[in-house]
Amino acid sequence: MIPVDGSGQRPTARPSRPDHRLRTGIVIVLVMAITVWSARGIDVDPAAILANWPNAVGNLVQLFQPDYSFFPQTLPALVETLQMAVIATAVGSALSLPLAFGASRAANPNLTVLRVVRFVMNLVRSVPDILYAAILVAIVGVGALAGILALVLFNIGIIVKLVSEALDGQDLGAQEAALAAGGSWFGANRMSLLPQILPSFASQVLYTFELNIRASTVIGLVGAGGLGLLIDNVRNYFLYHYLSLIIVEILVLVVLLEGFSSWLRKKLL
C-alpha cells in the first residue's frame, strides 16, 4: 500500500540517486583524449589501406588457398613446437611448485623470503616471453633450447602466481594441526597443503601447456625454434599459401588441445 499525501507526492524513504554524471563525463573525456593522442602517435591512416589494397588482394587470395603439399616440410617444425611445449611445461612446473610455496603467505613463515620471492616473480612476469626468447637466442644460440628456456621463465611466472594464490585460499586447519603436533613447516606444508592444491596445480599446468603451445608457435620468430622459425622464413618470401597452411595447423593444434584440456580440467576439479 502506498501512502499518498495531499500533494500527490509519495513520501518515500528512498535515498536520492547519487549523481555520477560529472564523474562519468570526466572519465569519457579522458578516455577519448587518450584515444585521440594514441591515434596521432601511431599515425592512424585508413587511406593507406585503400592505397595498398590492389597489391594486397593477391596475398589475401593466397591466404584462403593453403598449399597442402607443403605439409611434409612443416612436420619437423610442428613436432619441435610440441617438444618445446612439453619440456618447458614439465621443467617449468617442477621449478614452480617449491617457488609457489615460497610465495604464499599461508605456507611460508619467513617474511623476507616471501617478499623476495614475490618481487622476483613480479619482475619475471613483467617481461613478455618473446623478449626472453630474443635475448636467450643471443646467449645459447638459435634453436629449440633458447625457446625452451624462455618458455620455462614464462611458465614459472604464471604458475607461481596462480598456485600461490590457490595456496593462500586453502583451509589451514590441517597445517596448524601438523605444526602443533611438532611438524616442521616443510613437513606440514607437504602433508597438509600439497594434497589440497594438487588438483588446482594440475589444472594450472594444463592451462600453461595450452599457453606454451600458443607461445611456442611464435617465439620462433626471433630464432627460438618451432613453427615460428618456419613462419619467419615463409613470410620473408611472401609465400602466403604456405603461411596459411601453418596457420591452419596452429588452429587445429590449439583447438584440439583446448578441447582435451577443458575436458581433463573438468575431471580434475
Binding site: G41, I87, I130, L145
Partner: protein
Amino acid sequence: MSATAGSVRPVRPANWGQRAAWWLVSLIVVAAFWSVRIKWSALLDFPGQSAKYLRALFVPPAWHKAGEAFSSMILSVQMAWFGTVLGIVVSFPLSFLAARPLAPLGVRLPLRGLFAIIRAVPEVVTAILILSVTGLTPFTGALALAIGSIGTLGKWGYEAFEAAESGPLEAIRTSGGGMVALLRWGVWPSSAPEVLSFWLYRFEINVRASAILGLIGAGGIGKMLQDNVQFRNWDVVGMLLLVVIIVTMAIDQISGAVRVRLVSGRWELPLVRRLASGGAPRRKGLSPEATPPG
C-alpha cells in the same frame, strides 16, 4: 606398514586410471626430452654465460638512451590503447549478439566460432597477415591487437552477459520492454563492472603484446629492442628491458587498482596489497577480511 599392530588405517585404494595417466604423462615428457634436437651441452655454460650477459645488460644500462627508450615504449602503449579501443568498439555489439538469451542460434554459433578462431591465432601472425595491406607501421600493430582483442573480449563479453540474472530480464520482458530496454536495464547493470574490468585487463595484455609486435617491425619498443639485439648493443638492450618492466608494472598497478575498484568498490593497489599482506596467514573464518563487506 605392517598390519600386525592392528592398525585401523584402511588400505589405500588403487586408482588405475590415475596411475595410467601418470605413466602416460611421464612417457610423453621422457619422449620429448629424448627426441628433441638440442645440444644439451650448451646448458653447461648457461649459468656462466647468463652471468656475463646480465653484466653486459645491466652493469650499467645505457642511461643516455633512457629518453629514446621511453618514447618508443610510449608508442607501444599508444598502439596497445588504440588497438584495445578499436577491439572494444567492434566486440561489444558482437558479444551481445553471441549471448544466449539475446540472439538466435544461427547468429550465435558463427560469432562464437569467429571468436574461437581469432583466439587461436597469435597476434604476431595476424600482424604478418595484415601487414601486406597496411604496411609495417604501428597502425598495423594496433589493428592486429584490435583483431586479437575481438577474440577474447567477445568471449568474455558474452559469458558475462549470459551470467546476468534472469529475474530483471523476465521483469522487463513481462512489462513489455523491447530489446534496447532489455540490454540497457536488464543485462548491462549486472555485467558492467565485470565487462569494464575485462577491457582494462585486455589493455594490460595488449601492452605486453605490443612490445612483441615491435619485434616483427611494427615499431615501438620491440623494434628498438630487436635492432639493438642484432647489433649486440647489450647496454641499450638492458635499458630497454628496464623501461619495459617499469612501464608494464606501472600500467598493471594502475589498471589493477581501477579493476579492483570496479568489481569490489574499494581503491587499493594490488602490489601494495600483496606485499603488505605478508603478515599472519589467514585462518578461514577467523579474519575479518574473510567476510565480504555488506
